[in-house]
Amino acid sequence: MAVLPTNANPAPSPIQVPMRTRYYDGVTAEALDVRVRASTIDLTISRADNSTVVARWPVTDLIVLGDTEHEAVPAVAPRGSDARLVIEDPEQRRQLAQTVPALERLARPRPSAGGRIALFGSALVIVIGLFWGGVEYGSEAVAPLVPHVLQAKLGEAVRDELVDGKEMCLGNAGLVAINRLANDLGKAAGHPHKITVNVVKGGPVNAFTLPGDILVFYSDLITQAKDSSQVAGVLAHEIGHAVHYHPIKGLTRQFGVDVLLHSLTGGFSDIGTLTSGGGLLLALRNGRAFEREADATGVELLEKLGVRADGVASFFEQLMGKETSDAAKMLGMWSSHPPTAERILATKRPSTGRPAFTEAEWAALRSVCGETLRDPSSTRTPKDPPTTVRPRPR
């Protein structure tokens, strides 16, 4: 084995390929240092050491392989041949191209790196901007056109996934009450589809809207609400999501972001997993705009029905004022529904108007999970028939 010059890295500072002209005949790997004489008829290639002519290429056959943007030294070759002529000296290449117009590409100056970076960097930014605009506009336009059956199917699948292993509250009168108000609000907005509200037992204090006008409420939200107007406020907010087709728009956008990131990073799996986090972040940011729209629409719908509309703001205030020990329960609400001061200000309304639910409706809703929820310390007596059931196995 050859001895390795370990410590001796005799790096001559400017590493360069010597400025020579090389000829390869395409048959063997023999490399010849050559001189080239060009006429308008042919290219005469002769050995640099003894002037023996090694090749004579007719000008009409000549091509340049590659270009000066990518190839350090584009090679000259007769069409269809494996032979190559490589001229390292740019000045010599320029002279050759002057004599032989067919070799014009040989003399093109290397495009400046800075210029290219500026050009294609801004092109990239513009293309991403256009793509993003297309997704934004496209999801806006397309979402309402997605067949409702399809949306509902998707929504049901997501709901079943989300509530899997949790108890559904099936108190009939309570469900009727909340569904009644939900559809009243939907009608007030001119929404053409039926809205379905499901109640899941337990926490977090949250509610969400799925594609196909399917709403899911957690019973903790109903339990911890000070009064019926707060539940009505959250419900109206969710109806705001539904009538604006936010869920399907959100999905469309997320898909768009995925496609964009995939085309930008295509080929790196690790980046793929990393960007799925980035995509989520973007979807969340997107969510903020949706939230504001849903807030505004929710309050508007309540006022349209002549119902007390102070519930949204008062609910956010209550969430914000909660002590940190309840932070865990709020986490779910925080992530997609940040109760910012700005949102409270925007949804602040006087406590006038008729109540959203009748006394009987509100009582039924409070016990939708089969317990008298007015007094949290009371436990169910064995006489009470259990009205909570597990979701049916799929």
Binding site: A2, L4, Y24, T28, A72, V86, I117, L331
Partner: protein
């Protein structure tokens, strides 16, 4: 004079007569030269990215080809530049070919389901399930097949002094061999790694050629087993240390919190912001610890393995060697990875640039081939390429 030595891998095994009468072979050292510029590379890459977004990724075949043309052409050995003559459409055809194969495979699975299982469905076994499970099982062998076939494609599109390179041998044979070795290695707790490394390096090196000049590979797993066993137990020791440190740190944190066990379970069943922050901090610390203790050991082994594999490679009378250090290997494996991931892929040209500079700095070539004896090969290689690689292996470019 009789010579009995194991130190010369290129001598025939056992004792041979020393032919000291013959003239000393030419062993003039040289290194590859890379004269690309990072700025120019970025110009090409940004153009590629803009086109990727515009075409939703379909321009990747042509973009990849342009990048390779740049990199190949700026790398030279013995004063002669490489040339990349692949075409974007060859990569497109390769991709479409594998797409068609997958469609046929899905059709087959669907037919199986339709005619056999539809009447008597097995719970949890839908058509899509069967398809994705079969792909997951086939994915690893196919990725290996794709790696070998991809190497063949790249080599047959590579020219040096006008002569095409190439790779003989069967990609499917390599895929089966690689799958088997990987499986055995996993079954034996990684103790077979030298066997795997040498066993997979051999076909890739010994089947490679430039024109009619074949590479030879004289590596044996036995040569590196001693060092590997040392690495193996050092690695385990580092894991034990790392886990112990993490355990002590976690124990300390929670005794500080003075948490009762029910509160402890509550902490995890209903995560608060504090729990999340705590978990993130612990995760980060563990990651850092892992990076400090375990990665250097792994880089030390990888650098050693690379030096070994290079030194046992020969092309005719040309010998190779590398003095790559653990630190350089760290830059190659860890730093490059971090650059790509933390820049969301925008650092990719920098990584490529760094890699080629490393090759130019740390690969030594002794002697020069007799060019006149190397013939242009008759075959032109496959007409399309890298479909499997595109589909199953995501580490390439």
């Amino acid at each position: 004079m009789l010579h009995c030595s194991n130190e010369r891998p290129w001598a025939p095994r056992g004792c041979v007569t020393d032919v000291s009468a013959a003239p000393a072979p030419d062993l003039t050292p040289s290194r590859p030269v890379y004269d690309g510029s990072l700025g120019e590379l970025y110009g090409i890459y940004l153009r590629h990215l803009a086109l990727m977004v515009l075409t939703l990724g379909w321009s990747r075949f042509w973009g990849r080809t342009r990048l390779r043309r740049y990199l190949w052409s700026h790398l030279s050995i013995l004063g002669d530049r490489f040339e990349y003559r692949g075409r974007g459409r060859e990569l497109l055809f390769g991709f479409l070919f594998v797409l068609v194969l997958l469609a046929l495979w899905f059709g087959l699975i669907w037919a199986l389901w339709y005619f056999r299982l539809r009447e008597h469905p097995v719970p949890g076994l839908s058509v899509t399930n069967m398809f994705s499970v079969s792909l997951a099982l086939l994915g690893l062998p196919l990725a290996f097949v794709g790696q070998y076939a991809g190497l063949r494609y790249k080599l047959t599109r590579t020219r040096w002094r006008g002569i095409r390179a190439g790779l003989d041998g069967s990609a499917w044979g390599y895929g089966m061999r690689a799958t088997f070795l990987t499986f055995i290695n996993a079954m034996t707790g990684q103790l077979m790694l030298p066997l795997v490394s040498v066993g997979l390096a051999r076909p890739r090196i010994a089947n490679a050629r430039v024109g009619t000049l074949h590479f030879d590979f004289a590596g044996r797993a036995g040569d590196i087993y001693g060092r590997y066993i040392g690495y193996y137990f050092l690695n385990i020791l580092m894991w034990v240390v790392a886990i112990a440190v993490v355990a002590v740190a976690i124990g300390g944190t929670f005794s500080d919190l003075d948490t009762k066990s029910e509160e402890f379970t509550k902490l995890f069943s209903e995560p608060s912001l504090r729990t999340l922050v705590l978990a993130a901090a612990i995760g980060f610390a563990a990651y850092l610890l892992f990076g400090l203790l375990i990665l250097p050991v792994r880089c030390w082994w990888q650098a050693y393995l690379f030096r070994y594999l290079v030194s046992r490679t020969r092309a005719g009378n040309v010998l190779f060697a590398s003095a790559i250090s653990t630190w350089q290997m760290w830059g190659f494996l860890v730093l490059n990875y971090l650059i790509v991931v933390l820049t969301l892929g925008l650092g990719w040209p920098l990584v490529m640039h760094r890699t080629l500079r490393l090759v130019a700095q740390e690969l030594w070539i002794y002697g020069a081939p007799n060019g006149a004896s190397i013939q242009q090969p008759a075959d032109h290689g496959p007409g399309y390429g890298e479909g499997l690689l595109d589909m199953f292996d995501v580490t390439g470019f």
